[in-house]
């Protein structure tokens, strides 16, 4: 996993067939905040997309490739100080090439990302 233990840490996970909920902790000392942005640490949206991919890989037990994203809405700005802990909810339905994935990143306060797309099994 590319960003696990580098950008985030998984602290809990529950799976039930095609569904999974993972509790993650954002690592405030992650190197990425040196550059995004200097003096203003904000989660890069694309890192949260990678987190969804890695949690889906955990759920399905497969190595995955994001072949398409139908829609991904970034509904609030996330940062380790605003949302140190997040829940990633995933539904992964088997499809022709791999999985049709719907995911949501949220905490008790807000939804940060809503995601729908196809992932191919590598």
């Amino acid at each position: 996993m590319l960003l696990e233990d580098k950008y985030y840490k998984v602290t809990d996970g529950k799976t039930d067939g095609p569904n999974g909920i993972f509790r993650i902790q954002l690592l405030p000392d992650s190197d990425v905040y040196r550059g995004h942005f200097p003096g203003n640490p904000v989660c890069p949206g694309v890192c949260n997309i990678e987190m969804i991919k890695e949690c889906t890989a955990r759920l399905t037990g497969k190595k995955l490739f994001i072949s398409s994203i139908k829609q991904c809405r970034l509904t609030a700005i996330a940062s380790p100080s605003v949302c140190p802990e997040l829940d990633i909810r995933i539904n992964a339905q088997p499809s022709d090439e791999g999985f049709s994935v719907s995911a949501k990143i949220s905490d008790a306060e807000k939804v940060y990302m809503e995601y729908k797309g196809e992932m191919r099994v590598l």
């Binding site: 590319l2 995004h36 997309i49 072949s67």
Partner: protein, 141 residues
């Protein structure tokens, strides 16, 4: 066109700076270049820059053009862009370390701080990825 160093066009810095140069600008379209170097933040153990790196490259290319237009309009600060939505992203192949990508982007009209972006990433004439995007560009952090 006038040339600016990339640090004057986008606010992102290492390790997540994913554009090297703004190469061409014509109206609201532009081309950027980026070389995938070893140690790239999104490079996997096999030496490929994974899909989120391509999305970030497109977003920062749009941000570089927005930064260029704002410099040309006399602004002194680099605008900060946030991705609001990604739509119809397709990835055909990930570039590998040592490869140079060219990214073409087109900015739509800005409405209420939201700008529509169309982006395509090529390497050696081959289409690697394409997407539409909405970005929020703010002049103040």
């Amino acid at each position: 066109m006038n040339y600016y160093c990339i640090e004057n066009l986008i606010p992102q810095r290492a390790p997540i700076q994913m554009v090297d140069q703004l190469l061409e600008v014509e109206g609201r379209t532009a081309v950027t270049t980026f070389e995938i170097r070893s140690g790239n933040y999104f490079a996997d153990e096999e030496g490929f820059m994974t899909e989120p790196g391509l999305i970030e490259n497109i977003a920062q290319s749009a941000s570089a053009l927005a930064g260029y237009l704002s410099r040309e309009a006399g602004e002194k600060e680099t605008p900060v862009g946030y991705i609001g939505e990604i739509k119809n992203f397709h990835c055909y192949r990930c570039p590998h370390i040592g490869e140079k990508v060219q990214t073409s982007i087109t900015l739509g009209e800005e409405v209420g701080g939201i700008t529509l972006v169309n982006g395509e990433v090529h390497a050696s004439g081959e289409l690697l990825a394409t997407t539409r995007m909405k970005i929020f560009i703010s002049q103040n952090r």
